[in-house]
């Protein structure tokens, strides 16, 4: 039983980790807590729905499911499209709201604005797609029985595999590419990075694209393994913040580890507290980490 909770925890932790990477980067590099980041998961998931319908309409192999999975090539093609669409939403928000506010007002104003943006984005989803739950596919899947009597769905295996691939790709990007190294420089010290000739505006664009793409993939994976609801992202807002703060803002591995800790503690908590109180677990984690180690696990103590 405990192993099943661990497996579920890792799976939900993977989705949280994908969303938390972007939130963590925005908190560190753009210096504001973006309460609307979780809505990017919702937009990613719903925009993929449009692309899935588009690609499936060609029929043929695009419309057929692959092996044991519930989805076909159309969803695999829809994912990068959803990343692009969500990145465009994020960049538009940056261009018309957050960038302007960061120039003329303090970072707290950006936090208020993110309240308004979150409210608008979430309810636009209700207006466009309605409030009933939607599924990418209704195909039946057979659970795989792992040792220790743990059951996982093929889609969940895919979820975990894709998350690992995304994290490795981001690791390579951050450690090998020029943009990734500059990004770490901006996180460390923006003034010094600017003085060393880093184009900070370009790096900010990268932060939004990476954050939005991670959110979109997380949203699609959540929609694939659970369901699509307009509150999909909003219900993840506390887990995302918990993961970003736990890991220490601005750290890729911190966000991933934070996501796993949040997912595991949420799922293991049901053994001690009633399931109905599960949504409060990330909040307790936030309180504990802020009390004992405000800079997070991987963050540096600033003094």
């Amino acid at each position: 039983m405990i192993l099943q909770h661990v497996a579920d925890g890792i799976l939900s932790g993977a989705v949280v980790a994908l969303g938390a990477i972007g939130l963590s980067f925005t908190m560190k590099m753009l210096r504001f807590a973006n309460f609307s980041h979780s809505e990017l998961l919702t937009w990613g998931a719903y925009s993929a729905l449009v692309f899935v319908a588009f690609f499936s309409s060609f029929g043929g192999f695009l419309d057929r499911t692959i092996g044991p999975f519930s989805f076909g090539a159309s969803l695999l093609l829809a994912m990068p499209c959803a990343c692009i669409a969500t990145s465009m939403v994020a960049l538009l928000l940056h261009r018309f709201v957050f960038e302007r506010l960061s120039r003329m007002a303090g970072h707290m104003t950006m936090v208020f604005a993110s309240f308004g943006v979150a409210l608008t984005l979430r309810h636009l989803v209700v207006l466009i797609w309605g409030s009933d739950p939607i599924y990418y596919s209704r195909e039946l899947q057979f659970a795989i029985l792992l040792p220790g009597n743990v059951r996982v769905m093929p889609d969940q295996v895919f979820l975990l595999g894709l998350t690992v691939v995304v994290v490795i790709a981001l690791h390579l990007f951050m450690s090998r590419s020029r943009a990734g190294i500059s990004m770490r420089g901006v996180a460390e010290n923006p003034d010094l990075a600017r003085a060393s000739g880093v184009n900070v505006d370009r790096i900010v664009t990268w932060v939004w694209v990476i954050g939005a793409s991670g959110a979109a993939i997380g949203g699609v994976l959540y929609g694939m393994t659970v369901q699509l609801r307009p509150e999909l992202g909003f219900s993840l807002i506390l887990p995302l913040f918990a993961a970003a703060i736990l890991g220490g803002t601005g750290s890729l591995y911190g966000a991933v580890l934070g996501g796993l800790i949040v997912g595991l503690s949420e799922n293991l908590s049901v053994m001690v507290i009633p399931t109905t109180y599960k949504p409060a677990v990330p909040f307790l984690l936030i309180l504990a980490i802020l009390y004992f180690r405000p800079e997070g696990i991987f963050g540096e103590r600033s003094r």
Binding site: G116, H123, F283, P294
Partner: protein, 315 residues
């Protein structure tokens, strides 16, 4: 004509009740710079306390003491204040967005407790039959609502007058000093931690009062009234009206609640009935846009803070 008058009375009652909560938030954010993103939670504590203290006795549910209205109001403020003291002590080292994230989580947790602790809160069904004192003293809905409006006006007036006095007092000036520069305030021998906690507790007590006035008027309390969207609405009211100005806080409540009800009315007339369910989403989109647009074009709100220069400041 009577219809319109009753509607205006009804509208004023609700917007002024929101206004009370906005005044509480204004003390915290406007004057002290405390980012409380858990307004809905503290109004919920006040609302449930009012329901438990003044409501009728029920089987298998705690409370139902049938105490007088005013006792309920005082109890609601005390309960919200106690909740705020615990939260304030636990989060005393947090600033800005970290305080926002923590208080947001507190509100989510309070809502979960309201939803699930059936013995105390009645669970998903909530608590019904909360007495409205105006029903005992007046006949007919219009007279009753007018009387309740009077009671709300008295509450708003007292809160407003008290806050105006408080923010002009030495303690109030200390709040602003801490908001602007807590290191400088501390170097003058003030204790920012303690003053912040006091302002947080006082602000949350006012939010509790707002919740209590709300349940007595509506007659029931349910966990669905205290979702995070309530926090966003109250923040929008403060930002639109102008933070650090108590008149602005009340003006913002009237305007934003006015836009909310008017848009709801227009949507119910114009939008075809098969997509009426989406009407609420249109209202929420509108509130979100108002908040963002206000921040972009008039960040200090309609009537923002009045700037004061000390009488003693020399050239």
């Amino acid at each position: 004509m009577i219809g319109l008058v009753s509607y205006i009375v009804f509208f004023l009652i609700l917007s002024l009740i929101f206004g009370v909560a906005v005044l509480g938030l204004n003390l915290q954010w406007g004057f002290t710079g405390l980012f409380n993103a858990g307004v809905a939670g503290f109004t919920a504590i006040g609302a449930y306390t009012m329901a438990i203290l003044t409501g009728p006795a029920r089987d298998a549910v705690f409370g139902g003491f049938e105490l007088p209205f005013v006792v309920g109001l005082i109890g609601a403020m005390a309960a919200s204040g106690m909740g705020a003291a615990i939260v304030g002590l636990a989060t005393s080292s947090l600033r800005h967005e970290y305080l926002a994230v923590a208080t947001f989580g507190i509100a989510v947790t309070i809502q979960l407790v309201c939803l699930n602790w059936e013995y105390l809160t009645g669970g998903t069904l909530g608590l019904i039959g909360i007495p409205n004192p105006s029903k005992a003293w007046a006949d007919g809905p219009l007279a009753q609502n007018a009387l309740y409006l009077l009671m709300v006006l008295v509450s708003v007036g007292l809160t407003f007058a008290a806050l105006e006095r408080i923010v002009k007092s030495p303690w109030g000036r200390m709040l602003k000093a801490i908001r602007e520069d807590d290191v400088a305030a501390a170097s003058l021998g003030k204790s920012p931690e303690r003053v912040r906690l006091e302002a947080f507790v006082l602000g949350c007590m006012i939010m509790g009062l707002s919740g209590a006035l709300y349940v007595s008027f509506i007659g029931y309390v349910s966990p669905w009234d205290f979702l995070p969207i309530l926090t966003f609405q109250i923040w929008t009211m403060l930002i639109v009206g102008g933070s650090a100005n108590n008149r602005g806080a009340l003006l913002g409540a009237l305007i934003v609640w006015g836009v909310w009800t008017m848009s709801g009315f227009i949507i119910s007339r114009v939008v075809p009935s098969e997509i009426q369910a989406q009407g609420g989403a249109m209202q929420a989109v509108l509130i979100g846009l108002i908040l963002v647009v206000t921040l972009l074009i008039r960040p200090r709100g309609l009537i923002g803070e009045e700037l004061h220069v000390s009488r003693h400041a020399g050239p």
